[in-house]
Every structure is written in C-alpha cells, then in structure tokens.
Amino acid sequence: MTDVILQYVYAFAVGGAFCVIAQILIDKTKLTPARILVAYVVSGVVLGGIGVYKYIADFAGAGASVPLTGFGYALSEGVKAAIDEKGAIGILTGGLTATSAGIAASMVFALLAALIFKSKNK
C-alpha cells in the first residue's frame, strides 16, 4: 500500500517539478509558451535517446509520461522499437506510431469540440 502512495507522491513531485522549470522559463526569459513546448518535446527525445528518461519514467510513472517531455520520450522509444523490429523504415514510422493515439485524439476531440461549442467572450 505504501508503494502505491509513494508512486503518487513521486508522480506529483516530478510532474510538478517539470512545470516549475517551465514556469521559471516563462517568467524569467522572453521564451513564449510555444517555444517552451518545443524545447520540452525535443528534450524528451534527447533524454530518451541517451537513456536518461527511462529512469525518470520508471521512478515517476505518470509524473514523467504526462508532461510533454514524456511525449518526446514516447517518440524516441517508438523509433527505437520500430528500428529493432523493422529496420531502417522504423526511423520514419516509429515516432508517430507510438504517439498516434494522442495526436489523433487531439484532432478528433478538437473537431468534435468545434462542432459543439463556440469560443466565449472573455
């Protein structure tokens, strides 16, 4: 039982820490949110590629997979698995295959939301 609770604590702490780093970048530098997201995804790919992110993911669970670095990690893991399985073509197919659920879900839910809702006045 304590293992489960600890898993939540780690997820909270690591996920929160990823957000704090981005918050500092937003407030202290001129980086726009879009640039920060790009930096996070690419960092995820790099950290996944050099094998560091695996440890963070094993330790923090959703605390590592839910932040956008986890998206980058999934891309790199996908590429690696696809190359191991199918060879060179995996370079191109692996990344998007591994992340296709998230991308497709975003697009379809966005379309549905746009059919149902309208932007509100602020």
Partner: protein
Amino acid sequence: MSVNKEKYGKYVEKTAKKSPILKNCVKAFLIGGLICVIGQALMQLYLYLDISKETSKALVSVTLIFITALLTGLGIFDDIAKHAGAGTLVPITGFANSVVSPALDNKSEGFVMGLGAKIFIIAGPVILYGTAASVLYGVIYYICKLFM
C-alpha cells in the same frame, strides 16, 4: 525624438511590474503535480481493468486530452490556465488545449481553410520538431546499430 534605446530598455525592464514568480511557481507545481496524479490514478484504473500497459498508457493520454477538450469547449480551461501557467501548459493538457482552442476559434473562417488549416497553428511546431528530433535520433540509433 531620439530615445536612447538601450538606456530606455534597461529603465523599463528595471521599473516594470514583475510577474509574481514565486506565487506562479507554487501554483504551477501544485496544479501540474495534480494533473500527473490524475494521470497516475487513471493508469492504475486501466491496469486494474486488465488493459495492457502500453494501451493503458495511451488511454491515459486520450482521457486527459478528452477532459481538456471538454473544459476548453466549455470555456473553463483558460480560466484554470490563467492561474496554473506552466502547470497546465507542460502536461499533455497544454498540448490538447493548443489544438482544441484554434479549432474552436477558426471555425468562423470555415471548416477547411479556417478550422482545418489552422488547427495546428500552435501545436504544429511541437509535432514537427518532436518528429524531426525522433527521426534524427532514429538515424543515429540505426547507424550505431550497424556498427555494433
């Protein structure tokens, strides 16, 4: 009028009202952490339902994206994000919101050239550079594999 741009820029930077960075960081930490905890709970739920680990992982993302799409459509997400800052931006919720919000907004220019063309106006760079980085990594990994 000739303004000394450098001097004026420094003066503006020094005297301008600053973002409350500590307060922002605390809020980002709490809300960002909470979203990850929700992700962890969902993961546990899907595993408990005897769904495979890989599928569960994907379902966690899909669920969070669905919740974000709903909150964005209802006009609630931006009210949360105003306080959360990076706390909602960095998790997959930020990515989902950046896809859903242009879709809603650009519907007024039509479904093809409005919604369709502009849906990735914010999230596009994330997918592009993420994919490009992964392909680059793939090339390196493939070459390394050939020689090892």
